[in-house]
């Protein structure tokens, strides 16, 4: 995934994290601004990704991948109004891709090898959320954990607002079935 594939229009004069005017291609140590940004944002992005994946090791790896992309494109992305939104979107899309790939592999390789035992559930809805397709998982986490409106969920997932609403509707319906709950909105 390239920086351009997920780019936002830079906002002139609104850089939240000013970057030095030099290319990162020859830099082996991250600039101080990047390190400060990383320390402020990494944990929050990791939490969202891990809530989607339910796999700490993989969530950490994918979140690192997103922040690595950010580091490699830091001079450009740091000029965006919301570099935090950029890296979060990259991480979530990497997680979505990973979930889709896993589900595909499960279909292709079903029965070939014994299934790895699931990690012990840390909370009641864990297994239920695992049953959802990637986009629905993302919609649930973004809506219920990050409190994001559907317009923003749509932007992060790269779909229309109505599609995001459908993801949320189906996810909620399925979770209600799995958890034996009434799915009427409170």
């Amino acid at each position: 995934m390239t920086a351009d594939a997920l780019s936002e229009s830079p906002q002139s004069g609104a850089a939240a994290f000013a970057a030095p005017a030099r290319s990162l291609a020859h830099v082996t140590d991250a600039p101080l601004e990047y390190s400060a940004f990383f320390r402020g944002e990494f944990a929050a992005v990791l939490r969202t990704v891990e809530l989607m994946l339910r796999d700490h090791g993989r969530a950490e790896e994918l979140t690192q991948d997103a922040f690595l992309q950010l580091l490699l494109h830091w001079p450009k992305i740091s000029r965006y109004e919301r570099p935090d939104a950029w890296v979060r979107r990259v991480a979530i899309r990497l997680a979505l891709r990973s979930i889709r790939r896993d589900r595909l592999w499960q279909l292709v390789r079903g029965g070939l090898l014994p299934k790895a035992p699931d990690r012990p559930s840390r909370f009641d809805v864990d297994g239920a959320i695992r049953q959802l397709p990637g986009s629905q998982r993302a919609a649930i986490v973004l809506h219920y954990y990050e409190d994001r409106p559907t317009a923003e969920i749509a932007r992060i997932l790269g779909c229309s607002e109505s599609t995001a609403r459908v993801h949320l509707f189906h996810a909620r319906k399925r979770l209600a079935e799995l958890l034996g709950e009434d799915d009427r909105v409170a």
Partner: protein, 203 residues
């Protein structure tokens, strides 16, 4: 409790339990960024090593101590891998072998029996050669990598093939043996490969 309330509170509780070591992750990301910047130098060094190996093979009989062509052995000196991220990478870099006993239940279950060779390169690459009986006779598995953080060894062996996660192990190298102990592993086939018996340093 309504479904909405339950989802919110359960997700918040789960998120609260996630407490990453941010400094360790920052160090890993920085280390992963380095090989890209040194790719040119590494490639040149690799090309130079291949040329030197070819010359040694060609002049083999006339050089003292060169008992015959051995491109596999001579093409893998530590000097071809470029700058290492840390001394720990240099320490673990090398070639290791293990022979897994097919009569072991887990080994048999995953069809891992036979002799495996694993080369760990100081830039984080893994070259893994399975026995002919594994899979469909694959001679080597590609795209593998590892990172070190303290005494932890994280790797993506079998990722996407038989594993859906990255494996984390502690590692120790002593008396010619490389030992792995799982600390964060959900993939039994990788755990069986890495930690059933110690890996032997290959001369």
């Amino acid at each position: 409790m309504s479904l909405d309330h339950r989802l919110r509170s359960e997700l918040e509780r789960a998120a609260d339990s996630i407490a990453p070591d941010v400094e360790r992750n920052l160090a890993i990301v920085e280390a992963r960024a380095r090989p890209r910047s040194s790719l040119g130098a590494s490639t040149l060094l690799l090309a130079a090593a291949i040329v030197v190996a070819a010359i040694i093979i060609r002049l083999g009989p006339s050089l003292p101590g060169a008992g015959g062509p051995n491109p596999t052995g001579s093409a893998a000196p530590p000097s071809i891998v470029g700058p290492s991220p840390s001394p720990a990478y240099d320490a673990i870099a090398g070639t290791y072998t293990v022979t897994l006993d097919p009569s072991n239940t887990a080994v048999a279950q995953y069809r891992l029996g036979g002799a495996w060779t694993m080369r760990l390169v100081a830039d984080g690459e893994i070259f893994l050669s399975p026995p002919a009986s594994f899979g469909s006779g694959t001679t080597s598995l590609s795209g593998l990598a590892f990172t070190l953080a303290g005494d932890q060894f994280r790797n993506n062996i079998f990722y996407n093939d038989y594993c859906s996660s990255i494996g984390t192990y502690t590692w120790s190298l002593a008396a010619g043996q490389l030992r792995f102990a799982p600390v964060g592993e959900t993939c039994p086939i990788r755990q069986t490969l890495l930690s059933t018996v110690p890996w032997q340093v290959s001369p």
